[in-house]
Amino acid sequence: MKSLYKNLFSSLLKLRMTENEIAKKYSEQEMRCPVHLSIGQEAAAVGVCSNLELQDQVYSTHRCHSHYLAKGGDLRSMISELYGKRSGCCGGRGGSMHLMDPSVGMMLSLPIVASIIPIAVGAALSLKLKKKKNVISVFFGDAAVEEGVFHESANFASLNKLPIVFVCENNKYSCFTKINERQPSEDITRLAKCHNISNLRMNGNNLINVYEKSKMIIQQIKKKPEPFFLQLDTYRHVEHCGPNSDDNLNYRGKSELNNWLKDDPLENFIKFLKGENEYDQKIVNEINDKIMIEINSAFKFAKNDKFPNPASIKKFVYA
């Protein structure tokens, strides 16, 4: 197994296994905060973030687990945060929708739809002002482009030729509401074009393709700073918020559902590896075991971690 493939696979599997574990343990009611899982959408995070250097930054939304992990965020701090514990990446103050690990460039996640986008553009402006050859990636969903601030941000980034990739994970839904009830077209790149921003729409569940394309995009930006808009069509396997399936509610059409659930980034990647004759069950097992150990240890750590000191409530209100 080529080391690139191994890395991509490890990263992908880690996301999947971590979120599966969260889903499994959520009903214990010890992770007492909303969780928005990325199961089914992981190829976007892994494909893009695998091309980022430490100094490249990532910004995300309520659905930030995958970006946090793909950018190399610390697993223990993440799980502790979900448990509301002291060693959480926000000291238990933020919960699952605010994941960040600035030490690895995972800068900020925000739960208000689109609120992160201008902040990421500001980060890109900081790169330009510092004359750094890095790039910013900001992840958001298909609903975020309905907020005016997306356009204000895109206009600003275009006007100032800022080094930023806007990554729109189009999972077709805002909670239960389908994109065609919210926008006149599912081709979101039209909203990049109008700001003269280069763009690409592609299936986001094919990891190797996402990886290759974003590699080119990011290299290009580093050579010649300019924003890029990448629409990745994908699908969420479980409910909008929470660990379960909610397809008993029938808000997603049967055939759509079946087609997309089949188009699973993990299975796709395994198929790809097999096709390339790069799939090695032994290595896969090793990777699996290693991740399982890491996950178990993170959950154990989080459960044993102390709660934050209540007296700390008044800390960090002002710097």
Partner: protein, 361 residues
């Protein structure tokens, strides 16, 4: 309140009011993000679009500022609009429309354009929602002339005040505490109005006046029961209307008790309490027998972790402490009160309103 036994939760009461008003007035339009989805804004809009059609129950793009403007445009053209936000924070994106246009069009137009729009906004609490999903922002809204701002506390008012808001020719903002949705109470079936003018005395008492609103009322009622055992009688006032703020009811009560506690849903500092106390003081400088107190959220954002949330939200023991202080209750009795409280307090996690409720929200 009439003596009937028709138990509904506040969210059921809201749904019923919306349904009845939609039926009654075909110029009433509902709009919001998620209003037609299977969860129907915590059950408050469930299935309405099936009855009244998607023309009148409009599922909206995620564009709060835009749809607020759209609602204002509808409402100066003969419609009434009920706009709904699942969290009050989402309305922050539309404050320019609310503060400049909804609030002022009637004034600027010299009475030509009134803006009959109702905006329901849910205040999050519990289940670790964190700082951007659990604010109440009541003074942000209440400080603007031209708006009405209400915060119902009972299912009865949930229905009656929503109906009154829809009948009202002015922009009315309704703050709905998430936990208030679960509160159950008597709700008549008919269409009825509850006034949008003033607070409501919900328990008569002689020793001290406690003003509270929304979910907090429950904490105060709980305290009143404990204090009864010690011969202390508190008068509880449900604030209900934050703007225009009419303190006459509170004034009368304090005139009798001489003592006042304001228990805030939001922050203590720059909260509603300061305004109430100043208004009362302006009317009668000698009214207070002891220093009036304000209980509210501390001066920090809302932390997510339940370990922090537990200390963040003031509760019945904070109320009992303030009451004891103002009434000069002796230390021994104070201890007894606290012990009784600890006995009675439900074995509940701090971040959920009652045992029926299981996250996520």
């Amino acid at each position: 309140m009439p003596k009937i036994k028709r138990l509904l939760s506040s969210s059921e009461a809201i749904l019923e009011a919306s349904d009845q008003m939609m039926k009654r007035d075909n110029k009433l339009i509902l709009i919001g993000e998620g209003i037609n989805d299977p969860k129907g804004i915590f059950g408050t809009t469930s299935n309405l679009f099936k009855i009244y059609g998607k023309d009148r129950v409009i599922e909206s793009p995620i564009s709060e500022n835009g749809i607020t403007g759209v609602s204002i445009g509808l409402s100066i053209n003969g419609f009434k609009v009920l706009l709904i936000h699942q969290r009050v924070e989402f309305a922050l994106l539309s404050l320019e429309q609310i503060i400049n246009n909804a609030a002022k069009s009637f004034y600027v137009s010299n009475g030509k354009h009134n803006v009959p729009i109702v905006i329901r906004m849910v205040i999050g609490r519990g289940w670790g929602q964190g700082p951007a999903h659990s604010q109440s922002l009541e003074t942000v809204f209440s400080s603007t002339p031209g708006l009405k701002v209400i915060i119902p506390s009972t299912p009865y008012d949930a229905k009656g005040m929503l109906i009154s808001s829809i009948f009202d020719p002015n922009p009315v903002l309704i703050l709905e505490h998430r936990w208030f949705h679960f509160v159950k109470g008597d709700v008549p079936k008919r269409i009825y109005k509850t006034n949008l003018k003033k607070p409501n005395v919900i328990l008569k008492g002689n020793d001290i006046t406690v003003v509270a609103s929304s979910y907090n009322i429950n904490e105060v009622i709980f305290c009143s029961k404990i204090l009864k055992n010690f011969g202390i009688s508190i008068e509880i006032i449900d604030l209900r209307v934050l703007r225009p703020l009419d303190t006459e009811v509170i004034f009368k009560s304090v005139k009798k008790t001489g003592r006042l506690i304001v228990f805030e849903i939001g922050n203590k500092i720059y909260g509603v309490g300061g305004e109430i106390i100043s208004m009362i003081l302006e009317k009668d400088f000698n009214i207070f027998k002891s220093s009036p107190s304000r209980i509210g959220l501390p001066d920090s954002p809302t932390p997510s972790s339940r370990a922090l949330a537990e200390k963040y939200y003031p509760n019945s023991s904070d109320i009992l402490k303030e009451i004891s202080k103002q009434l000069n209750v002796n230390v021994e009795v104070q201890e007894k009160i606290i012990n009784l409280l600890l006995d009675k307090i439900p074995e509940n996690e701090i971040d959920v309103p009652n045992p029926e409720f299981k996250g996520p929200f």
